[in-house]
């Protein structure tokens, strides 16, 4: 059983940090984060061509993370693969010892750095969860038997601040029914919104990792210009505090805000664990963990 699953099931507040697979074959910088933090965090998350921008394969990066002494949480997107590729990549991940998965539809290709690429979406995230569950049960999506069923810990995304929320809640229920074992949210800055979302969670316990993010100067400038268009909101006072500051000062203030959020989430039991996004930088992760007392 994966450490992430064990920690979640033990109620021990796991910490997952998000790495940035490189745009290139040089993996030293990414693996340096793993070597520095392997003893302090539960797992390292590997996005799959995040924001539709081509990067080193998440499954390969995840295997390298495990070889470097960390546990991996590997993302798999429906955008870039048909069902054959999704299934064979899932089996490939299992054969490499990768158990933790985050199964997503994926940002659309025109938003990324290969806008003329063909978007696939042969499956959606709900169907991909069903596919992975089927593999665990020993058959592929065509109903054919497997030689050796994989063991996965299936994660999915839920959007607490979706507006309108009801269609998102229906999708959340479908993901649960399809076999999701834990959920990860996008970044949360406004805990009131997270508290309100929790009122909609089903009575059956659902394992929830809430993302806490350190904003960059470009994101702050975007928000200050009134051009923020994300699935999570930024409190106006936070944007006012950060706007116009030097990039490193923004990161330093972001680290403080992130550690406060992590502490509050843990104290109030607003989530079962946290998922940290801090530019894939060891120094920022370390400061958040220290300030949050983790």
């Amino acid at each position: 059983m994966s450490k992430l699953r064990e920690t979640l099931e033990a109620g021990a507040f796991p910490v997952v940090v998000e790495l940035k697979p490189p745009k290139g074959a040089g993996v030293d910088e990414m693996l340096a984060v793993v070597k520095a933090l392997a003893g302090r965090v539960t797992a390292f998350s590997l996005p799959d061509n995040e924001h539709a921008r081509m990067r080193l394969a998440a499954v390969a990066a995840a295997r390298l993370v495990q070889e470097a002494g960390g546990e991996a949480l590997v993302h798999l997107t429906c955008r870039d693969r048909n069902r054959l590729a999704l299934e064979s990549d899932l089996l490939g991940a299992a054969s490499l010892g990768l158990e933790n998965l985050l199964l997503v539809s994926g940002d659309y290709v025109t938003l990324g750095d290969h806008p003329q690429a063909k978007p696939v979406y042969d499956a959606d995230s709900v169907q991909l969860l069903q596919i992975a569950r089927g593999l665990m049960d020993g058959h592929d999506s065509a109903g054919l038997a497997l030689t050796g069923a994989p063991a996965f810990f299936l994660g999915a995304v839920v959007i607490p601040e979706a507006e309108p929320l009801p269609p998102q809640l229906i999708k959340f229920e479908k993901k649960l029914a399809a076999g999701a074992q834990f959920f990860i949210t996008p970044a949360v800055f406004d805990l009131d919104k997270l508290r309100r979302f929790r009122e909609h969670l089903p009575e059956t316990p659902v394992k929830l990792l809430v993302s806490v993010k350190v904003l960059g100067a470009d994101e702050v400038a975007q928000a200050a210009a009134g051009q923020w268009r994300k699935v999570y909101s930024l409190p106006p006072n936070l944007v006012n505090d950060l706007a116009g500051k030097e990039p490193e000062d923004i990161l330093a203030m972001g680290v403080k805000a992130a550690s406060r959020l992590v502490q509050q989430i843990k104290q109030e039991k607003l989530a079962d664990g946290v998922y940290l996004k801090a530019k894939g930088r060891t120094d920022l992760f370390t400061k958040i963990l220290e300030a949050a007392g983790l």
Binding site: Y108, D124, V126, Q127, A162, E163, P164, I170, K171, V231
Partner: protein, 226 residues
């Protein structure tokens, strides 16, 4: 109907550069409605070519004709004799019409003058939007008459993606999220339960190209088992 856009003039002119006598064939149905390849557009293209080549002191003899439907043998067959005198044919029909014409007029090169874009609707004059991907497995009865395959850029079958912001689409914020539209329509109709069932993977084997449909009443005529 089929929506098309006329190709850039420079592209058409370059394709026709080797020829001295061409026939431009319009289509009187879809491409006429969307102002891309009907009788008027045939005349416009012919005039444009004559003017452009006249400036260059070149001569191009151009014949013009528009048939009711280039995708229909009934209307296309009479054209065959008419094309014999020309060196090349320009079709202003959709891709189906161009290929049908090409098949029938096997001695002449046939060039397309439009880019076929989608199956869509005529909202107002000059304003067309896509409405159907011809996916071979219509979901509209389940999804409140709003197509997730076409209206959601990702073609998701089980609800909105994570990129929807304030009910707007991740890909084009000018557009309402298809899944929000579906939700609101089904809510209005009291049919939200439709959304609780997980729709299975789409049967893409049916979309293998080129597709063929034989009406059940005509199976014997075409040598198929009834």
């Amino acid at each position: 109907m089929i929506i098309a856009e006329r190709k850039p003039f420079a592209e058409i002119k370059a394709m026709l550069a080797p020829y001295k006598k061409i026939l431009i064939v319009g289509c009187g149905t879809c491409v006429a409605v969307c102002l891309a390849g009907g009788e008027k557009e045939v005349g416009l293209l012919a005039s444009q070519l004559k003017l452009a080549l006249g400036v260059e002191d070149k001569h191009l003899e151009i014949g013009e004709i528009t048939v009711e439907r280039q995708c229909d043998l009934e209307f296309l067959r009479p054209l065959c004799d008419f094309t014999a005198d020309y060196e090349a044919i320009v079709s202003m029909a959709c891709g189906a019409g161009v290929q049908f014409l090409n098949q029938l007029c096997s001695l002449h090169p046939v060039f397309p003058a439009v880019n076929t874009t989608f199956i869509g609707v005529n909202n107002e004059v000059g304003y067309y939007t896509e409405a159907c991907r011809a996916c071979h497995n219509c979901y509209l009865g389940i999804t409140g008459g709003i197509c997730p395959v076409t209206m959601c850029p990702k073609g998701l079958l089980n609800g909105p993606c994570g990129g929807m912001v304030n009910g707007r689409c991740e890909v084009d914020p000018e557009k309402e999220c298809a899944w929000c539209r579906i939700y609101h329509r089904l809510e209005l109709e009291g049919r939200l339960d439709n959304l609780r069932e997980i729709l299975p993977l789409h049967p893409h084997d049916r979309t293998t190209t080129p597709g063929t449909v034989i009406h059940p009443a005509y199976k014997r005529r075409y040598g198929l088992n009834e």
